[in-house]
Amino acid sequence: MSKEEQHLHTDSWQQLRQLTAARIGLGRAGTSLPTSELLKFQLAHAQAIDAVHSPLDREEILKQFAALQYHNTPLNPLCVHSEAQDRYVYLQRPDLGRKLNEASTYTLQQASDKEGYDLSVVIADGLSATAVMQQSVPFLTALLAELESSKPDWSLAPVTLVEQGRVAVGDDIAVALNAKMVVVLIGERPGLSSPDSLGVYLTWSPERGCDDARRNCISNVRPEGLAPDKAAKRCIHLLENARAKQLSGIGLKDRYGDDVLTDGTNDKVFLLTSKKN
């Protein structure tokens, strides 16, 4: 027994840690955190701060995207930038992160289609480029497969990769591309235990100044959270419903769970096993 351990009370329910990544069963010194747990937390916080400031590796992500196709056509993503020129400005000026810069708007207008597209897919670094690097390809692969088998066909605008972007930058992009709906894949703000979590936001009929009540969100897309293929199934379900009802957000209830998520009844919860205790 180390010197530190002599003054500790250990929690006898540490086995429950197998059920969650939450910091349970930490034990205590008096009623306070043990030294080892205090330092583990400090380390995780330091790593999360570093994740916020790590830049998007554009070349690497384009290399990964090269393998992706939609109806046998390569995606050839377009790279654009918000009005926030760097991370420092991005953190202080969310309004700039929501707007596409002028040069990018011009680029996208050139790629727009008179007839319009059904859907624009946007990938934004958000607050974790790490998340985009790790989750966007698996999620997009699954989503493209779902889109290919969805009827009627979806016409897809050129996929767009945006740096220093917030969710609403997708509205500007969809307008520039003339798309009816936008899906934004964005790095969520890093948590202590999850510096790599992707968020997915859907907006029907996007326009600048859309309020958030008009969006639907799927969060925590990462292998330890909502797996990319499950997230893609939820996403196509929302997309199809949004297209059918011509709306998104509060008015489009996420009923995916009503049919599919039937697991997990109370008698399977350890605190509520049928045996009275």
Partner: protein, 466 residues
């Protein structure tokens, strides 16, 4: 309108309206700078505070910061103002109100009596000319007591919301965090889950689990799934066991529209929850969260500073008689509250303003990983708020919310406050903790050394899940 003028030496300062005086008098914060409403210089800020201090409180009844015709929160504030309650302070200026609040003779009862006579704008105004110690001293005098299955806010008591979030809403994952929290004496304000996805079926599933847990272990507390109010209304319609209705709210009509709510919708939700009659010692059925910066974030601030908008949200909450309301003070990010210093000041202001308006004010003492803040800042705010008799804080395993990706106070943090101030949980919950032998009454020790029998049994029953 002539505006408001002040001459300082050779310089003439002029503020075009009440909103500008309020905004410029606000202690420095990044959100007001982002909105372009902050004072341009340190001197201008203090001049605005001097102008504000000289304004008669009656000004706020004659001049609104957001037009009556345009905003339902303004209409609510003006239409429900109680002139009789206002009478004892009606002759005061904002500066004189500060002095009056600080009088030793101005006690809990007097503050309760005047409460409905004060508008959110009056309260926000006086907070802007109060130092941190003033905010603490006056908030400490305010007594706000609410009840559902236990009683929150009794002096000498300090409550916690057990927040057992899980990234995929896994029932056993959530149950594991609840177990951890209960063993640390947390969960008397509410056991409240933020679901990973806004989904009616999931909400009902979680509500059913919490309901069975609370009744199986006879825990004198209430549950809540923090989903959109329309989901909760639908859950009530489908027969789900809803204790509290949750909603995020803001201080302007546009902000609330961006949240997909209105006063009428909130009233409808409250009626739905009341119809279930699930409270045993009281019928406060609403739970609100707020936070400075939401109005700017929704493009709905009308040039009004974020702290005044926040206080207007309390004006809305007051009409719905909540069990709990808390500001989520550092959640929104550095563009609104840049660092630990700004977060601490905002936390104290929000708590003071809510309490003075008669609300059961708690605080989610928190920060995100992109803000210039750390655990030490949270310790400071926690200690200050506890000394101001904040009603409740969050309790989460090891301060780390693995679903919402931010850091808030932990089960350990609440026990720190219990040691420091001798503050007990809500009386009914405290009794339960002692009956269950989670809390001990031997010597200096708060927590029992041994895991109580029925929880040890539940743990052994967990074998099959692991």
């Amino acid at each position: 309108m002539a505006g408001y003028c002040y001459t300082l030496g050779q310089l003439n300062y002029r503020f075009k309206d009440l909103a500008e005086v309020m905004a410029k008098a606000s202690p420095l914060r990044s959100g007001d700078q982002l909105a372009g409403v902050a004072a341009a210089t340190a001197e201008e800020r203090v001049v605005a505070q001097m102008v504000l201090a000289d304004l008669p409180l009656k000004t706020f009844l004659n001049e609104t910061v957001i037009p009556y015709e345009q905003d339902e929160v303004t209409r609510l504030i003006i239409d429900t103002h109680d002139a009789e309650a206002f009478a004892p302070v009606a002759h005061l200026t904002v500066g004189e109100l500060r002095n009056w609040l600080l009088l030793e003779s101005t006690d809990a009862r007097i503050l309760q009596d005047v409460c409905l006579g004060l508008t959110p704008e009056m309260v926000a105004a006086v907070s802007k000319i109060m130092r941190n110690q003033d905010l603490i001293l006056v908030a400490r005098k305010c007594e706000v007591i609410t009840a559902f299955r236990n009683t929150i806010g009794v002096p000498g008591h300090f409550s916690t919301r057990l927040q057992p979030n899980h990234p995929t809403d896994d029932l056993n994952g959530i149950a594991a965090s609840i177990f951890d929290g209960l063993m640390y004496g947390s969960g008397d304000a509410v056991i409240g889950i933020n679901p990973a996805t806004d989904d009616v079926a999931q909400t009902i599933k979680l509500l059913n689990m919490l309901d069975e847990l609370i009744s199986r272990y006879e825990i004198p507390t209430q549950s809540c799934v923090l989903t959109h109010v329309t989901n909760t209304i639908e859950a009530v319609e489908r027969g789900a066991p809803v204790d509290l209705v949750f909603q995020s709210i803001g201080g302007t009509e546009i902000t609330n529209k961006s949240f997909g709510v209105s006063l009428a919708l909130l009233q409808e939700a409250r009626e739905a929850a009341l119809s279930l009659k699930r409270g045993s010692v009281g019928d406060n059925v609403m739970y609100f969260e707020t936070g400075q910066g939401s109005a700017l974030s929704a493009n709905g601030h009308h040039g009004v500073d974020q702290q005044t908008c926040e206080t207007r949200a309390y004006g809305l909450a007051r009409a719905l008689d909540p069990l709990l309301i808390n500001t989520v003070v550092g959640f929104i990010g550095p563009e609104y509250l840049f660092d630990g210093k700004q977060i601490i000041r905002a936390g104290l202001e929000d708590h003071f303003c809510g309490k003075l308006l008669g609300l059961p004010m708690g605080c989610d003492i928190c920060y995100t990983n992109h803000a210039q803040a750390d655990q030490n800042d949270m310790d400071t705010l926690l200690t200050l708020l506890a000394s101001a008799r904040c009603q409740f804080i969050m309790g989460i395993p090891g301060s780390d919310d693995i679903m919402l990706n931010y850091q808030t106070t932990s089960f350990h943090d609440a026990l720190y406050i219990r040691q420091l101030f001798g503050a007990r949980p809500a009386p009914e919950f405290d009794t339960w903790l002692k009956q269950q032998k989670i809390f001990t009454e031997s010597g200096n020790q708060l927590l029992a050394d041994k895991l109580p029998g029925r929880f040890a049994a539940a743990l052994s029953g967990a074998g099959g899940k692991l």
